[in-house]
Amino acid sequence: MGRISAAYNWFDERTAIRSLIRKGLYEAVPVRGAWFYTLGSATLVLILLQLITGIFLTLLYVPSVSEAWASLHYLAQHDAFGSIVRAIHLWSAYILLFVIGLHMVRTFFSGSYKRPRELNWVTGVGLFVLVLAMAITGAFLPWDQAAYWTAVVVTNIPVYTPFIGSFLRALWRGADTIGPTTLSRTFGIHVWLIPAILFPLIGAHLALLRKHGEFGSYVNYRGAYRSREGVDVPPAPKQRPIEPPYPAVPTDELWAAPLETEDFYPHQTFKDGVVSAGLVILVFILAVAIGAPLEAIADPSTTSYTPVPEWFFLPLDELLVLVPQQLIPLVLVLPTVGVLLLLALPFIDRDPERNPFERPAVMVPGAFAVLFVVLLTLLGSGRLFNL
């Protein structure tokens, strides 16, 4: 034992790693509501899963219009393990989108975007948009029928922007029609450009989280928060003194520090681990049981194929079905306004109140926005089954 601790000390003297580990592992996290907080780490784990499987997929995939499908077809026919890697990449993407949605709803619900955590939310919205962009650009790459028509429709949406519409479309496609440039550009965007922005942004998101601490949700205070009626709620205990290093900035006394905390390691890491491992197991089961489909090679001259959107694209696609011709720009306006509202949320809602039931002006429109997206997905889901 002496030699190991001596080696550790040697290392620590040269890298200051001990204090880094201490800071990382022994952060104070609240006891109550901790299971909700596992959604964030689950998102991170799934993104890392995407990174790893994606890197290994580039060892075989060729981003060329004549070779892309052929390389993946070869993978499917001759490489069982490689097919599983590709299937994990697909199913992890689907589940990631679902979990990131849950994570957003949770942080919205608990008011975790309020002072001093506004930038946490803003970086989070940026991450959401980038992950969505990854999912959409990744869908183009196999260049089978499904990928090809997804590419055609998605790259065609910007054309309805007034004045610069066809320029935007040509910018992405590399010409007025889909061609080799589209695939090369999309591959570069998917593998390099977006990850180069995504991962530093994740770093910023985590750094901000650490700076302000993992509490501030009203769930941490159940029992202490006196409802307006004061019925059936025990009186609030004496508020505990606020300990350093939290809060990083002065904030409302009530939300500054929770009643009980414990160490991040091992308590929160256990919960994070259970949820993340569970999700990875689910991804693995889906990858092995269902796998990643590869349809016939892209054929623009088809008159029998019915393009079906990816499930996360369904709300927009259902809007495309429902919106009449004169109002098509609405299909562009609605998501743009949605993202802008999301970004502006911490600056619109500056009321320090955290209890979701006491702030209907934000909760109700938010709930309806989520409901409408779910509704549109449900209404369009019939086409997923090719009905």
């Binding site: 019925v231 059936d232 079905v321 429902l322 002006a361 309806f368 409408f372 509704l375 089954f385 009905l387």
Partner: protein
Amino acid sequence: MSALIALIAPALHLLATELPSQAPQGNNRLAAQAVIGSLFSLHILIAGLVSGAGEIGPAIEFLGFVRQRRRYDRLAHGLGHFMTLYFSFSSAIAILLITVLLVGYWGHFWTTMVTIGWWPLFIEAWTFVLQVSLAYIWYYAWEPLRAFKGVHMAIGGLLAIASFLQVYMIDIIASYMLTPTNPQNPLRLALNPTSYPLTVHRTIGNLAYIGFAFGAFCAIRFLRARNPEDKAFYDWAGSFGLLWGVAMTLMQPIIGYSYAKEIQLHSYGSWYKMMFGTLSPVFLWQITLLGIMFITATLYFGRRLRTDGARGAGLLRLMSVGLVLTTLLAAMPYHLGFTYADVAAAGLNRPFWEGGLINPLGSMIPWKVLALMFYTLIAIAAVVWYLRGLPGVIWGSARRGEQRILMLMAVLTMLMIVTMGFIRENSRGPFLISGEMTIQGQQNTQNPQPTPAP
């Protein structure tokens, strides 16, 4: 009750005789359609409430548990009581219809339908058993399980699921009649093009209906209550019901539009009849009625806040004005004749300022679509502003005017349901199963009407 017996007595006669070899003809057919139509409407008017209560009751109980407020619990308890009282009546009508009247009058159609929809009806029957048992357990075990709220809420949750499944299963049958697909494949049967939109539409509709209904019930109780605790409770519950009803109803424009889109794609004849044909005046009435419902609800919101001097009353009045303007836009007819075909036949299908009978401002696209969007947006704003003003409201101090509005809302909702049912069932004419079986009971072997494939 005796009226019901008078209605079914002639049908009971059928039990003693052989089943007729063909559907009713001529005047008998009209009489039979009227009987079945009225009974179905009555059934839906009550069953919609029962299903809605089964879904919303457990949700309210859960909400009360989270917010630690007794009045939610009392409201949920009341909804449970309602279910136990009225479940049997609406079910009796339904059973009467499917085992006696439909078999007696349209035996060929109904036996075909049961054969095709065997599994949905089988599951429906069992969820029916589940729903009724759970409803009674949920209500009568309330006090005994007060210390085990989690268990009680779990029972409520199962009740909600059973209620939903019941509606889903029967909607499979109903939607199949409008947009039939491959009957051999049970998955395609269950997922026929209009089953999803219809189920979502009806589930949200049931939830809205129960909200408006118990709002009106609580309005009546409020006017009769004597002690302040009861008055406070009924005042709050009436407001809650209306709030809930509006929140659900404001989602209906987009759901309904999507449902109509599916009908357009898969049963064009029915769609045409509703939009341009003989049912178009009724459909126009429906969109107007929707606007009237939203206006009435917003009037309640404004009045209730003004009664206690809470902030936001003025803005809500402005929203009512906005809704009135939107309703006027929505209510404008497109063809100023009974049907579009009439107008075209008279050679007058040009704008009215050119001497014709067409009103371009009444076209669905884009004017009525915009009106529907405005309904939704203004209603969301009204809900939000009312909730913001609620902290300034003292429960129990409502005036009679508000209670009258609540009662009016329930009447309007019932009118809406009956109108919808009428449109639905008649748009399919002359078919019972679109493109395959007519009301006369004839199997249609000709080519079905042109309907685009997905």
